[in-house]
Symmetry: C2
Subunit: 269 residues, 2 copies
């Protein structure tokens, strides 16, 4: 029950009816007995400037989670960002300092890595393939580098996008072999789909069926698509007996990271 | 439990930790089974412009209640106001139209009249005295005129404020006798304190003890002060056996009016 004393966090996007963060956060706040609530705010792009101005003076707002389509616009409108958010040009969480300063981070990729770790997959020293170099793919690629993969292959239909991300990662992680060609499918310990393929019935698979057949039996296969929970890509991997990780797992694994960044949950939540 | 689909209303003020509206509204929404929630937003004066800009584009915000110190600033910053809000130069509730237009009203005075009616006091044809011509006093005076009092006396240490309100009321309600002197205390059917006197221990009474002794035995005596609930003024009236009405009653009586204006409750709630 929200009261006058209740501190607030928000999730900002448009639309927001489908977002699950309010239920996940509000359950966690209730369990912790915290007088904090998360609201979902449906703000179109032309409202972001006003939102950021307001957020700087909104005394009982502790921070906000950022979702589609505002991750880039908010990254460029706030007062400071972490190194990884700067490299990625995107934020998915912002903390409001006591002085009203807005500080952003991008923990989509960390959520992915956490979810993988909960399956017993340790990225350090392993070879990974990330399909798709948009916001989610870039964040996952960066987090896998932070987690110490030895080889990272990235691919995307947009060659410029691939080139930019590869250069940025190579500059920050010179010890990691960054590839922009998939090459031998059987070398990868981790394969992640970070494209929207699989959301719509009839979408092509992000990797062809013959390519899926080549994956090594110990490969961990992940998807960022949240609906359906098990995409055709994951179903194909599961049919081969491979370990799979769903989009909702990645979202749930971020709860503590997002909440800790805003100062309203502990990282373990 | 707030979800992505939850529609929002807010109460805007600074500070807000003490406001009771979120609990009152959220209880009413829960009883009605509505997927609507009220949040309290602590926004200082320098955030009001940004708040109003944001409110126009905030798709899942249906409206907001306005409290101290923003009733005047928001009245002048929104797109349209009711006649009474224009006359009073203040709003305490704003509705967000589907086109993002912000429309304001001032129902503090109606809440007062509703609370009086719940005590069996009918203003029509009666003689009323309102002590204090600030925001609350002006709203109450106006609502008593709308409710058809035959005589309205108003007083305030600020003679200019009294004069302005008396002129405005006389212009809108030419059939009502508007007095700016108290005169004979025994004539009033209703006496309302709309000053802050009674909030602090040691405050003088808004009417002197000899004046209270002169009130007619059937007089209804009201106060806008919410804490303490029974002020020394009300205690003195009660000691004389007079009917009394507290500040919290006035606040509670507004719930349905505010909610109906924002389209989230029915007037009877």
């Amino acid at each position: 029950m929200i009261k006058g004393s209740t501190r607030l966090v928000a999730i900002i996007g448009s639309p927001v009816v489908q977002v699950k963060s309010p239920e996940n956060f509000n359950n966690a706040f209730a369990q912790a007995g915290s007088d904090v609530a998360m609201i979902a705010m449906d703000i179109p792009s032309d409202g972001i400037d006003a939102f950021l101005s307001l957020a700087r003076t909104w005394q009982n707002l502790d921070g906000f989670v950022v979702t589609i389509p505002h991750k880039q616009a908010i990254a460029s409108g706030i007062d400071s960002v972490t190194q990884r958010a700067a490299l990625l040009g995107a934020v998915n969480v912002v903390r409001r300092g006591a002085d009203g300063q807005l500080i952003g981070d991008m923990v989509d990729g960390l959520g992915f890595v956490r979810a993988a770790e909960s399956h017993g997959f340790t990225p350090n020293g392993r070879e990974a393939l990330v399909i798709g170099c948009g916001g989610a793919g870039s964040a996952i690629a960066h987090a896998l580098c932070e987690a110490g993969v030895s080889v990272l292959a990235i691919c995307d239909p947009d060659a410029q996008r691939v080139g930019r991300l590869a250069s940025a990662l190579a500059a920050e992680f010179p010890q990691i072999s960054i590839a922009t060609e998939i090459g031998d499918h059987s070398r990868y310990d981790l394969v992640a789909n970070a494209t929207p393929l699989g959301m719509q019935a009839g979408d092509p698979l992000p990797l062809s069926a013959p390519a899926i057949a080549l994956l090594k039996p110990t490969a961990h296969v992940a998807d960022v698509v949240t609906s359906p929970e098990v995409t055709p890509f994951l179903a194909a991997a599961r049919a081969r007996g491979l370990s799979i990780q769903t989009g909702p797992e990645m979202a749930r694994a971020q709860l503590g990271l997002l909440g800790a960044f805003m100062g309203v949950l502990s990282p373990g939540d």
